[in-house]
Symmetry: C5
């Protein structure tokens, strides 16, 4: 799983029927210091998160487990709203 | 999930019987500014998208969920036609 | 699977109901010489590991197999506490 | 999915019983201009492809869907013989 | 799938009950010329391979298919002992 900032949405009118009603978010993965890591990807919202908030994201087959119907073509979902990243120990080196 | 531009097709006469009738697209993944990200891959079409259009792509086991028969050897599918990428918040740094 | 040092936790109050009660750890993947490899990710704890300890982590769909309920949106889990990395043969080149 | 040139085979006498009779190919992934992309990996043959031919490869859990028994430890398979890559639109750059 | 040299083992006393009795190997992925590719990872042994030997490794959900119990938190397994890599055609460029 990874933490990402929500930076926008994808608008797609024609799509798989199982995606109807699912908000497609553009999310920027962050590292443990909240700095961007790699480039943004698209994730399905499952918690009602908004732009500017930090989301906990799950990838792969597991992402769909957070949706009402688990057999949908979704490979990344926001499954939590992050309140805090608590790094107790400094990263090595 | 990711957004990609459709740039071509793959022609394969001999193939797994479960792939018969499925259009195999060459898709170029894009970033949130619609610039190419990495090199093109092959994805199954599920929405009737054409070359030059932007598709929403799903990878992994979930891709096959968008096909009529879900137990097929497909690991990437175009599951939506993207109308717009709405980046409300600027990417950090 | 990979070995990672536990460096912190993620606090997320609003989340998927299946994640309630699961500790979300920030883990730093390490190489065979215990040096950091890539940047930290988030993993579910299944063994009661603490910050500063080395965990054996499993990714993908298999991660959820270590949780009480296997159909949860988790794609990485700590499934063991590493006592030792026993590299008997030197890495080539 | 991706396109790869078949460049060799792996010989493994002792192996999982479910792999008996499956040809293990060394495949070099190619980009849309048929140039090598990354380094070769090992894929199971499901279409009777030969060295020097271009194969359509599927990764992950889906690869096993192309084999007679789907519950085998195979994570990449050649599922088609590529006749042509038809890039209609130039890659954005 | 990929070929890797077995370079050591991971010792983890406290672990998921489904991992008991499974040897956890440290494996160094190799390219087609038997040179190291990336850094070592951890894989479950299913064929009784030893340090210094070359193993055929499978990743993802498929890895667990080679274990006695398929619903275990393992995402990489050694599923064969490699006798030879037979590269018949030179790698392009």
């Amino acid at each position: 799983m990874f933490v990402a900032e929500i930076i926008g949405t994808v608008v797609a009118t024609e799509k798989d029927p199982n995606l109807l009603g699912i908000t497609l978010l553009i999310v920027q993965p962050l590292d443990e210091e909240r700095l961007p890591k790699g480039s943004p990807i698209v994730a399905a919202d499952t918690v009602g998160i908004g732009v500017g908030e930090l989301g906990l994201c799950t990838g792969g087959r597991e992402a769909a487990m957070a949706l009402p119907k688990p057999f949908v073509p979704v490979d990344c979902a926001v499954v939590g709203i992050v309140d805090n990243l608590d790094v107790e120990r400094e990263k090595i080196s």
